[in-house]
């Protein structure tokens, strides 16, 4: 039994890491008042670009940087469209997803070597492998926490840092104020446009990194639709986390855990058809969204940043 739980935790953590990156990223973006529905596209682009770079250069560091660059650039486009051009955030975000998914798929068929008919699918490249912390990784139950790939270890620092930054620093205060009430933030001398550009871009970089975790660690290699809709699940996770980076872990563990259970059941040869098991994470997303919305309506002050999705212009009366 203990072995089962230990192995479930191991799969959970591996499945959850990419979700945590993207969730923390989107929380920062949404805290500035920008809704970015381009997550799915940014994750796919992060995954394909980082895999290609790793395959050709052999450098995982370069690969990760590439994923962040690509995610950041797509998010920057979103910021330009929504902050400067004041485009509808939903429409812009959906376009980023459509564009990113299409381009990632196209690149997956063009960037590969000639001997693989220019396809990236089926290639084996460098990947992040788990590094066990001597001793700790042998512990029952919690052992898997200390037997992870480097990108997951970085999360152990990133999540508390993201929480501390948001709630305890001056810059975090300004970020929260911009998402809640940009007019007030502006009147208090905070540069709303700068804040929105900055955190939308940072959000995109983290999301790209989440994509890189998929193609470099979780399921090494490139395959079409490698994200399996994770970008959409993250939108729900942000709500589940109530825009708090510390709680992002809970949601990611929940969804990673559902994945783990589903794998285990399939491996154990259950009678439940695989299609139903594969549905689980997405069904859970719907349930979580409905439950959270319902709960939010009942409780009082918890909720989305008040200015989420609303453009801001100083001289508008």
């Amino acid at each position: 039994m203990i072995d089962l739980i230990t192995s479930l935790l191991a799969i959970t953590m591996r499945a959850g890491a990419s979700l945590v990156y993207a969730t923390v990223g989107e929380i920062y973006t949404e805290r500035s008042g920008i809704l970015n529905l381009g997550l799915e596209g940014m994750m796919l682009m992060g995954a394909v670009s980082s895999f290609a770079v790793a395959y050709y250069t052999g450098s995982l560091v370069l690969a990760v940087l590439m994923a962040m660059l690509v995610g950041g650039l797509l998010a920057l486009t979103h910021a330009f469209l929504t902050v400067t051009m004041r485009a509808n955030q939903v429409v812009s975000g959906l376009s980023i997803t459509l564009f990113g998914s299409g381009l990632a798929s196209f690149l997956g068929q063009r960037l590969g070597p000639a001997e693989n008919s220019h396809y990236l699918v089926g290639l084996v490249g460098p990947k992040f492998t788990p590094i066990a912390v001597p001793g700790l990784s042998q512990l029952p139950l919690v052992g898997p926490i200390f037997n992870q790939d480097p990108l997951t270890y970085i999360l152990y620092l990133l999540v508390p840092a993201a929480w501390f930054y948001l709630y305890k620093t001056r810059a975090g205060l300004e970020l929260r104020a911009v998402g809640e009430n940009p007019r007030t933030a502006d009147a208090m001398g905070v540069d709303v446009v700068k804040v929105r550009y900055l955190y939308t871009t940072i959000g995109g970089m983290l999301t790209g990194l989440g994509g890189a975790h998929l193609s470099l660690a979780y399921t090494p290699g490139w395959s079409e639709n490698i994200t399996g809709g994770r970008g959409w699940i993250v939108i729900a996770l942000v709500i589940f986390a109530m825009w708090n980076p510390a709680r992002a872990v809970l949601g990611a563990l929940l969804f990673g855990g559902i994945n783990a259970v589903q794998f285990r059941l399939q491996a154990a040869g259950t009678n439940i058809p695989a299609a139903y098991l594969n549905m689980l994470p997405y069904l859970t997303t719907i349930v979580v969204l409905v439950a959270m919305t319902w709960w939010e309506a009942l409780s009082k002050r918890i909720g989305a940043p008040a200015a989420l999705g609303k453009p801001y212009m100083r001289e508008e009366k």
Partner: protein, 515 residues
């Protein structure tokens, strides 16, 4: 205060400020001078350009023309940060506070001279010291959403002091205060001017100019029309300057014996949007030919009161009767058929459909029946236009054509249109919520006259207002609402402003409850 012989240096000077918005000249070569230790009142009707001028001063708007001098030096103010660096701070009409953050967090928001990880305990300590000194009591660790409007205003003032502002701009600060709180504010302002700070006080109330200021500048339609020493002018003169003609302060309210009970509330309870109790056992009656005024600081259940009566909000306990018939929790449509008309507080959101023509907005209550539509439910556009023309003429709604989209009209004319529609359809009870809020003196006068006409025609009127002067001149009786409870109901002819103020602050006077 300053002897002109000695040519003192003004701490602030604005010269020839001009600001254009699409289709509007908001400021037309306006000059302003402010001396240390002085309170300058900026008087003008809504839309006269007061707030625009001040928004230029704090860097929220950029002027199209003109120069600004601070302490004798020419300055360019590009952003609120520039303004703050020059010691200019403003308490905006709609408070600039983030409700989900604490008082301390709001006060330090945007400050640069703090460590990256601010020590909030130390900040709170300093806030406490300042509150102590200026008698501005507020808990630095409380969240803004937990505070009353009066307390929120204290936070705004604390914010300015904390940031070391030397020039304080207050945009209609008394609109949200009880008379007693307004007096407290006056004391605080004078404490600050005694220390050499200066203040600009924006208002459209003459009494406040007289009470608060040393000098007064009057704006009308974007132009500076007068500069007066407060001690050398009078409310009558100021009103004339502000409006451009003589203004009647008191309306004629003929004595009238009220008839049968039209509206009766029995121990009504209701929740607000957050699910917190907003009305806690409200009971009163209104009779034919009577105006009942509801006084109180905004946010004490006024909106919810209007909504339960018009069927827009669920009553949790208690009963509402119209002409003796129970209408508790009936749908709005059914309540309309009982002869209830509603002038909502939110003119554009709830009272009118901005993108529809004036005519359609006017027809919005009668369109279901003949003559505006046929028996089969097909609208008759010609009759709608005729109907609209008639109302436009009777109520003097200034619109280019009945087909003009209503959002292009001024606030006063939109309100006149809503008033026309609702009064035309009113058969028994008129519920008017802040009907003159944001209107200029002329439009306000028109609105009040219409309400009195309805009363004289035997209708029952519920008037919710934040303007005590308005209630005293228009209403027959005044009920004071505080935290969802009626603190007392007084006849307006015998009402005492002092007592009303106490009740607005939550003090119940048992002697007042005899009616």
């Amino acid at each position: 205060m300053n002897d002109t012989q000695e040519t003192p240096v003004p701490i602030l000077e604005m010269r020839g400020i001009t600001k254009r918005f699409p289709g509007v000249l908001a400021n037309d070569h306006v000059d302003l001078e402010l001396y240390p230790g002085e309170v300058l009142a900026l008087l003008g009707e809504n839309g006269a350009g007061k707030s625009t001028l001040m928004n230029i001063l704090v860097g929220l708007y950029r002027p199209d023309e003109g120069e600004i001098y601070v302490r004798g030096r020419r300055v360019e103010i590009h952003s609120p940060r520039d303004a703050a660096a020059l010691g200019i701070g403003m308490v905006h009409q709609n408070f600039m506070l983030v409700p989900t953050m604490t008082v301390a967090e709001n006060i330090i928001l945007g400050l640069r001279d703090l460590p990256f990880v601010p020590d909030l305990a130390q900040v709170s300590q300093r806030i406490r010291e300042i509150s102590e000194r200026y008698n501005l009591h507020v808990d630095p660790d409380a969240y803004i959403w937990q505070l009353s409007v009066g307390e929120q205003q204290r936070v705004e003032i604390l914010k300015l002091i904390y940031r070391g502002a030397e020039i304080l701009i207050l945009d209609e600060p008394t609109a949200v205060l009880t008379p007693q709180e307004a007096r407290e504010l006056n004391k605080v302002i004078h404490m600050m001017t005694a220390e050499g700070k200066s203040a600009i006080f924006i208002t459209h109330k003459m009494e406040e100019v007289m009470e608060f200021s040393d000098w007064v500048r009057v704006l009308r339609q974007g132009k500076l029309v007068a500069v007066k020493r407060t001690a050398e002018t009078s409310p009558q003169e100021l009103a004339r300057l502000m409006v451009g003609r003589e203004v009647l302060f008191r309306l004629e309210r003929k004595p009238r014996e009220p008839g049968d009970v039209v509206l009766e509330l029995q121990d009504v309870h209701a929740d607000d949007d957050k699910g917190l109790p907003a009305l806690r056992g409200v009971s009163f009656t209104i009779r034919e030919g009577e105006i009942l005024g509801i006084a109180g600081v905004a946010g004490n259940g006024q909106r919810e009161l209007a909504e339960v009566i018009t069927g827009l909000r669920k009553v949790k306990a208690g009963h509402i009767f119209i002409n003796g018939e129970e209408v508790t929790n009936k749908p709005p449509r059914e309540i309309i058929t009982h002869g209830v008309s509603h002038i909502p507080a939110d003119r554009i959101g709830m009272g009118a459909v901005g993108n529809l023509p004036v005519a359609d907005n006017l027809a919005m209550k009668g369109y279901r029946h003949e003559p505006l539509s046929s028996k089969l439910g097909i609208l008759n556009p010609r009759r709608i236009i005729d109907f609209a023309r008639r109302l436009i003429q009777t109520y003097r709604i200034a619109t280019p054509t009945p087909q003009t989209r209503i959002k292009f009209l001024s606030g006063g004319n939109i309100q006149k249109a809503i008033l026309a529609r609702e009064i035309n359809a009113c058969k028994g009870l008129l519920v008017a919520v802040y009907p003159s809020r944001g209107l200029d003196v002329g439009a306000t006068e028109a609105v009040r006259k219409r309400l009195l006409e309805q009363r004289d025609a035997g209708k029952a009127v519920l008037l919710i207002s934040e303007d005590l002067e308005e209630l005293l001149s228009v209403a027959d009786r005044i009920a004071v609402l505080f935290e969802g409870q009626v603190m007392g109901i007084v006849k307006s002819d015998e009402a005492d402003i002092e007592l009303l103020g106490l009740m607005m602050a939550g003090i119940k006077d048992p002697a007042m409850l005899r009616m």
